[in-house]
């Protein structure tokens, strides 16, 4: 019942976020408690960082929200953080579990070099200070999918600290302006993932899958510099792009490779920060924004109504679109942190501290990793703007869609068409079709080569742009034909030779002097102008004077000639200073020629002929 009330009120087009991952809800049990009465439209929330109370009183209070994020990114590596077992999504349960992962007694952790490199690389990309010495700690809690009873993490001295993440927020009437913002990064720490618990309420059983247990995670802790769901969403999206560019994490939220917990509080600006809640279970960027905005509004409402905010963990419910207390039975958790005694301090080197003759297999050189940093999304966007003259927001869209930039670049590589043309086709036609059918770039029926070939045909003026759209539509049907084949099969080539077109026009005019006369009567003209939506038949009747005068056969040539007449009418309009009329006519002519004639050429030819 609450669901329909939870429409996400659109705020016009923003630069698009990643594909919305639908149906990935694994919540168990039915939601309880009445929360729907708190739900209201939140469109205003994200646009202004200051919140006005729902029921403003005298001297209206302004609320400010403070949002901090803890982001867990699964490190993209062949093996786990401390064991040799493989890392693979959706492998059969418990098929990727080493003795260490199952915490068999006597097993010891062995640090995975690749995970350390990924952490250093991510730290560098996020402008962090890399600690040359970092430490591992045990964080204790009992949970069925945590077989050791503790998680190895970096609580005291993490591998990277004090960084920053710059992201963009879309603003302006059409959301076409990008405002750069920065959030500080407190730290990045290496830690183990837990296993997964699958609860079978029916048989009151919990099944444990340890495939994920021990996979390396980067925990990125953001300072509470964010003020709304949209900012949080944009920051996470940017982080996701950076991780993907670095290759340090696939950062696919639907597969759980990127998980976000949000710490949220509200207060009056100038006053101390409010009590914060932690919202967990945010498995898509859209839900992240939604949950944060919901929780901000909930806290404001609660405080406005004289309630208080509890320092608690809340979970976001996708279907209801609200956050709910997780009602931690144990109450206050004390993780009883302790140094991990089985791992010596993690020591990193740079060019100045590298010991002479050190075995490169045994040491990690920060400077060396810095050199291998790939182009970061921010730089990619700048390059796109410079290199291809596209708008900044277009560059955002290109990067935000998974695989779209690569698609774009592949098209650019293979086509002679202007980059602006390519941008326009990729962002409008191609992306439009994808969105319409809810497809990912990788699922597209049109390959970059096909689009490149199509754009080449357009560029070489082999086809008109209207014909190009028709070809594109054909390509989308996945019939395995190339654009060239489609064009020749459907005879969509542009009538390029001026001679035949001129001759056609000429002979048409000569062969049908009566059509000109009809036009001369004047009533035909006014009729045609006033009712452009007429059917061909009604037009024909008008042209012939009566239904009886209609031709018995040879309809195509009749219609063709008729259209020429209409065209001539419009040319006269043009002469009389009515350009809209001629445009309408050009459209009709193009339709009649199956868009094969270049309207500009037709226009030019006919203008010439009429004025001579």
């Amino acid at each position: 019942m609450a669901a329909p009330m939870l429409r996400w009120v659109g705020r016009g087009r923003r630069w698009t976020f990643a594909r919305v991952d639908g149906g990935s809800c694994h919540r168990r049990g039915a939601p309880t408690g009445s929360t729907s009465n708190r739900i209201r439209g939140q469109s205003s929330v994200a646009q202004q960082p200051l919140y006005t109370t729902q029921k403003p009183r005298k001297g209206e209070h302004k609320w400010a929200a403070v949002v901090g994020l803890e982001i867990h990114a699964q490190i993209s590596s062949n093996s786990k953080l401390f064991s040799g077992s493989q890392v693979r999504f959706s492998a059969p349960p418990n098929s990727l579990v080493s003795f260490f992962d199952a915490s068999l007694p006597g097993t010891l952790p062995v640090l995975n070099r690749r995970c350390v490199e990924a952490a250093v690389m991510t730290g560098l990309a996020l402008n962090c200070h890399i600690n040359k010495k970092s430490l591992f700690d045990r964080k204790h809690y009992f949970y069925a999918d945590l077989p050791a009873g503790y998680q190895i993490t970096q609580q005291r001295l993490p591998i990277a600290v004090n960084g920053s993440l710059t992201y963009g927020i879309c603003a302006g009437k059409k959301q076409s302006q990008v405002i750069p913002k920065t959030v500080r990064i407190k730290q990045i720490q290496l830690e183990q993932d837990s296993g997964k618990s699958l609860h079978d309420d029916l048989r009151s059983q919990t099944l444990i899958d340890l495939n994920r247990a021990g996979v390396g995670l980067l925990e990125v802790v953001l300072e509470p510099d964010l003020s709304c769901g949209e900012e949080a969403a944009a920051a996470v999206r940017e982080l996701q792009l950076i991780l993907q560019a670095l290759g340090t994490s696939q950062a696919n939220m639907a597969e759980g490779q990127l998980r976000v917990d949000a710490n949220i509080s509200v207060h009056h600006p100038g006053e101390p920060l409010g009590v914060r809640t932690e919202v967990k279970n945010l498995n898509s960027i859209r839900f992240l924004a939604k949950a944060i905005d919901y929780e901000i509004q909930r806290q404001i409402d609660e405080l406005e109504n004289g309630g208080e905010i509890l320092n608690e963990t809340r979970s976001f419910h996708h279907q209801l679109g609200c956050t709910m207390s997780m009602r931690d039975k144990e109450g206050k958790q004390d993780y009883r942190f302790m140094p991990e005694p089985n791992l010596p301090p993690l020591v990193l080197y740079d060019a100045t501290s590298l010991p002479a003759g050190a075995d490169p297999q045994q040491v990690i050189n920060i400077d060396q990793i810095r050199e291998t940093l790939p182009e970061l999304p921010r730089v990619t966007r700048e390059r796109l703007v410079q290199q291809y003259g596209m708008l900044l927001e277009h560059s955002f869209t290109l990067l935000n869609e998974v695989g779209l930039l690569e698609f774009f670049q592949n098209v650019i590589k293979e086509t002679r068409a202007e980059p602006k043309k390519v941008t326009s086709w990729v962002l409008n036609n191609f992306l439009g079709y994808l969105k319409q059918q809810n497809l990912a770039v990788s699922e597209s029926p049109v390959t970059p080569s096909a689009l490149a070939e199509l754009l080449d045909l357009l560029d070489s003026r082999t086809i008109s742009s209207a014909a190009a759209k028709q070809v594109f539509e054909e390509l989308w049907k996945r019939e395995g034909k190339t654009p060239g084949q489609i064009v020749s099969e459907k005879q969509l080539e542009l009538m390029e030779d001026r001679g035949p077109l001129e001759q056609l026009c000429h002979s048409v005019m000569e062969a049908h002097p009566q059509v000109v006369t009809i036009w001369g009567r004047g009533e035909g003209q006014s009729h045609l102008q006033s009712q452009p939506q007429d059917t061909p038949k009604s037009l024909a009747i008008t042209l012939c004077g009566s239904p009886e005068a209609l031709p018995k056969n040879d309809w195509p040539s009749f219609i063709y000639n008729s259209l020429i007449v209409i065209f001539l009418v419009k040319v006269m309009d043009l002469k009389e200073g009515n350009p809209r009329a001629i445009n309408k006519l050009i459209g009709l002519v193009r339709k009649a020629t199956q868009s094969r004639a270049d309207p500009a050429m037709i226009k030019e030819i006919l203008e010439k002929k009429l004025s001579s």
């Binding site: 069925a144 009883r336 942190f337």
Partner: protein, 528 residues
Amino acid sequence: MLGRTLREVSAALKQGQITPTELCQKCLSLIKKTKFLNAYITVSEEVALKQAEESEKRYKNGQSLGDLDGIPVAVKDNFSTSGIETTCASNMLKGYIPPYNATVVQKLLDQGALLMGKTNLDEFAMGSGSTDGVFGPVKNPWSYSKQYREKRKQNLHSKNEDSDWLITGGSSGGSAAAVSAFTCYAALGSDTGGSTRNPAAHCGLVGFKPSYGLVSRHGLIPLVNSMDVPGILTRCVDDAAIVLGALAGPDPKDSTTVHDPINKPFMLPSLADVSKLCIGIPKEYLVPELSSEVRSLWSKAADLFESEGAKVLEVSLPHTSYSIVCYHVLCTSEVASNMARFDGLQYGHRCDIDVSTEAMYAATRREGFNDVVRGRILSGNFFLLKENYENYFVKAQKVRRLIANDFVNAFNSGVDVLLTPTTLSEAVPYLEFIKEDNRTRSAQDDIFTQAVNMAGLPAVSIPVALSNQGLPIGLQFIGRAFCDQQLLTVAKWFEKQVQFPVIQLQELMDDCSAVLENEKLASVSLKQ
């Protein structure tokens, strides 16, 4: 043959005086005869015989794997052994059959050693008597020795001999009893606060704790990760060196092992001259609780070095008295953490209660662990609580550093090895021992051995002489970190000087004369 040292029997195997299978069978028979000692939790008879068969083939083909090929050994039951139950003497792990071998076990097997079985201990190695395991206490073979029995007849008019048996010390008491009763030639123990050296001293054996990081801990079910070291129990120093040679070295599965190359194999030179040596006597180790006999032997040992030209210095380890308390905090904290994995979910004991996961955890752990383990878990969790961490754990770590620095300072003052007692007195009768609780006993018994583990140093207990009661007394040498070879070289010289008598198990052995045949056990001397 059974009374010989590892090195001697290895020579006999090479010369074909005995085959590995014959040797294995003799040991197995003796294990059966001495079952009442409770030294073994599991006897891996089939495995051992199969290994012996393979070893025999190698010898026949002249492809011996080295000094350990065909040598019966025993392993403390807190080392993971593939396919062989590993219990830590706890209900929690009864029936647990590990799928992998501890690195040290694998290395022994790779050298051709025969695994006779898994030896008894205090539950999860928490204790100093080998009395607190779920399989019952281990009896000290010296309880049945001619030396002890005769003295006892003189001293007391014993009422009930059978109930007057002595403890082995611990927690590696099963390993010590196994070697002491001639059921194998070497055994692995573990040493966290003295668990190898203490039973070695009580059972008249060499008990060696290598430098932390020299021998892999992979597969050793941990007590305190930062202090645990696999220990070696043998009848003489040379044997310990042979076993150390097989075990030492970096292990990719244990990140705390060191990569710096160590001289291998560990061939110990025979010192002809100790005049260049400097022996340190830590004055803080002269505690009131020290028995006069041990004190006198300690003093004689110092005199011996001095009379042979060594320099003997009194040194100070000023933070020694804090070691017990410090150890208590660090040990229980790590125990609390290490024991968290025993939740009944994946292996080991699981209770019948299935009301909720939490209830299952609680009941499983209550049923699975004894009072000692549960008590340490409770204290450890207390010390690790957020509000206590700084006041207890961090402070204890600082004290640990001070204790380690004491040793560094002593060694920097020119001392090569330290000479100390291993235990306060000789082994006590079980009935005497159990009058105190585990915590009190551990605190008393580990007093000379614990600090070494805090500092990660190598140390070895050498049997020196028999007490008035006819029981062995050991002294401890402590070396510089990773100077294990130097330490053992000094210990070997000392061993040669003191000529510790061999245990005379005639009465015990009379029962199994078929096994011993013509062995002149009683008269076999350590050195001819």
